[in-house]
Symmetry: C2
């Protein structure tokens, strides 16, 4: 955990081949923005035909309540993620 | 600009030797979290004796209303920043 404040959480995550277990999905009530800082990964977004391929510097915005799973991460070298979760301000 | 939503802004910034002009400071009413993705930089935080040296993967949290300036960035190669600004949720 890099930063945790009211309304926001910034995390650094390192994967080395880990994936989300089959048939499991992440489901969150916060918006999420994820950057692959190093390495490579594939994400599956519920309802999308194709997996999203992410290389270094690629990012994806995952809205709250959008089910997603990590389909693949590189087993040869660490994949470093930066994940930012936040709650939208309601005015 | 990578993402802009109510309460949050995520920016990718590339510097090649740029600094904040002498005697000028950034002053913001949002909290900021900054990561040096590539390259190197030095930041000056108002009231601190020493400049903060930031290399690849280093980050700094700059609270709202904390004056700061970019004292130096590498002139030889691009410095890539990821800057996240957000407003704290008040409950």
């Amino acid at each position: 955990m890099l930063v945790e404040r009211p309304g926001i959480r910034i995390e650094r995550i390192v994967s080395t081949g880990q994936t989300t277990p089959e048939c499991q999905w992440y489901y969150q009530d916060t918006d999420e923005w994820v950057l692959v800082v190093k390495g490579a990964a594939r994400l599956r977004i519920e309802g999308e035909e194709e997996e999203r391929k992410l290389g270094e510097g690629d990012w994806i915005m995952i809205p709250a309540h959008c089910r997603h799973r990590v389909a693949w991460t590189d087993e040869e070298r660490p994949t470093v993620w930066l994940a930012i979760h936040w709650r939208e301000l309601r005015h």
